[in-house]
């Protein structure tokens, strides 16, 4: 009880609900001089499905990778709950954050079940990882998430490569949800999937996130999908936030401004390279 009270107290600072993720003037300059993030500030409340839009190279991936420390900041501060990102907090933050990757990032030769269980690789005892012998509750949980993402028992022993692109991304999502993370980062999770499958995968991401009260940050290239699924849209351009608001405010003018002078954004149209589920 007192723990909850402390938690609630911690969440509210100065009468305001503390944001789940807070970005304060984030800057990332790569050694070659490219400023991938150029002063990004935003607060993301708990449980929000936040879509990051922007032309190619605008810094979407960089922003997402700052959250789990895959990219280190040049300056500024990222805070998850009450944990500021630092070398000391890196592991603790990473354990609360899961990521869904554009190219799925599955261990291709390993089975679906091994890939999903790998979501707990940082949490179970070392000897269990070495033997690949995960505890029974975890295996039960793995079956649960595999079922939740719409796969079947017959998929469990199959090698990840032997699945279609859409199925592989489902495995990626199952792995991310295995340990009920607080934050899900999804970097263009549907970029290599066809439109119908993209909708299913995004819907899955949003619903599963909601069920667990997880905050989702998802970068996308398809503005129509963003409008359909987002609670909030952050538009980026050249490392800066140029739009931040609910989807109904992201109208044709805002879209035109975001992509002005650039190739039109990819709509959710069939693509040649799309993988079919």
């Amino acid at each position: 009880m007192s723990a909850t009270a402390i938690l609630n107290a911690a969440r509210t600072i100065g009468g305001q609900v503390q944001p789940h993720l807070s970005f304060r003037d984030l800057r990332k300059v790569y050694p070659d001089g490219v400023a991938a993030l150029d002063g990004v500030s935003a607060d993301v409340p708990r449980g929000q499905f936040c879509v990051v839009l922007g032309p190619s190279g605008s810094g979407k991936s960089t922003l997402l990778r700052v959250v789990n420390g895959l990219t280190s900041l040049s300056s500024g501060q990222m805070t998850l709950g009450d944990l500021p990102m630092s070398a000391a907090n890196l592991r603790a933050i990473r354990r609360k954050v899961a990521m869904v990757h554009q190219l799925f990032n599955l261990t291709e030769r390993a089975s679906v079940s091994a890939n999903v269980l790998a979501g707990a690789v940082a949490e179970v005892p070392f000897w269990r990882v070495m033997l690949g012998w995960y505890p029974a509750e975890l295996r039960a949980r793995a079956c649960e998430v595999v079922a939740r993402v719409g796969l079947d028992e017959i998929h469990l022993p199959r090698r990840a490569v032997a699945l279609s692109g859409g199925q592989q991304q489902r495995v990626g999502i199952a792995r991310a949800f295995l340990l009920r993370p607080e934050v899900i980062l999804a970097d263009e999770p549907v970029a290599s999937l066809d439109p119908a499958i993209s909708r299913e995968v995004l819907g899955l991401l949003r619903e599963a996130g909601r069920e667990q009260g997880a905050t989702v940050m998802c970068s996308l290239h398809q503005t129509d999908l963003a409008r359909e699924f987002a609670d909030r849209i952050i538009g980026m351009r050249k490392g800066r936030v140029v739009f931040d608001g609910p989807p109904h405010l992201f109208d044709a003018r805002a879209e035109a401004a975001l992509y002005e002078g650039l190739t039109p954004p990819a709509q959710a149209q069939p693509r040649k390279e799309a993988l079919h589920a």
Binding site: G57, A98, H101, F104, N105, L106, E108, A118, A122
Partner: protein
Amino acid sequence: MREAELEMGGHPAKRVADWHLPAPYDWRAALAVLLIALALIWSGQRMEVGKMIGLTGEAVLASVGLQEESQVGKGLGRMFGQLFPFVIEDRRELARLPDIDRDNLPMFTRIELVEVTTFHMNAATLQAEPRVDVKEYLVHPFGYLLNVLGKMVETFEMAIWATIISVILSIPLAFFGARNYTPNRFAYSASRGIVSFLRAMPELIIAMFLVLGFGFGAIAGYLALGLHGAGFLGKFYAEDIEGADRKPQEALTALGAGKLRVLRAAVLPQVAPSYVAYTLYILDRNVRMAAVIGLVGAGGIGQELKGRYDTFEFGHVGTILLVIFLTVFVLDQVAAKLRARLIG
């Protein structure tokens, strides 16, 4: 100038006409090829490659009857002829086996009588006179084959233990010797140094030293092979770790997993087939090398081979070579099946 307006995340725009796509090779590549060719010509003279081709050609021509005879053919032919027939029986003079009970011979054995003619000087006539002695032999019709097979089993055991030692040694060597997993540059250099050293030392030499320490027998043999094999496996394991798909590794690192956990869950499944292939190759090599290493008294079939070769018993040598060949052949088949199964 619409292209010129295309901005890519702050990169300076450049007109397409000013782009440059280099050709796949340039004069440096051509020069390198030329230098390598020159080096090979120079080395070819030192290695008498011309003579090698000439003599081989003669031998081939002679064997198909297009030429009288050849130097190589004669030398090899004499030796080759003596390998046949393979000796598979075990034959011992009965007089030297005091414990044999004639009425109750060991299984499969029989006694053969052989007339031996010797010449003796007759003191009276000062003439050499033939004298016929009958010698009795205890013959086991396939005793020698059994003996060789027993030695082969021993050799195979040596190869197995050598492989186990190689694998155990090369796991830490691979971890420290993989650029993306080594804890620091020093550990990396040390590991790579050890791996090169182990590979550079011929197993025959290592075995000779180890025989001094561990005495004649199998221990020196499989230790030597194990150390040498670790030089191979340490290198190949490490290079596969470096070359493994980075994406799943990044995914698990992002979850907060440490290096060893990432290696186990994201790298090992990817490299397992090639690890199995390398390890089976080392096993195969150890079987063959275990035969050679016996030459310095390090146990196994090699010791037998050396003994028979030194006493010009080429029929026995032939049997040994045949058994080694058959073992390697069978092992190859088994390894191929195993590999297909693990990779499929």
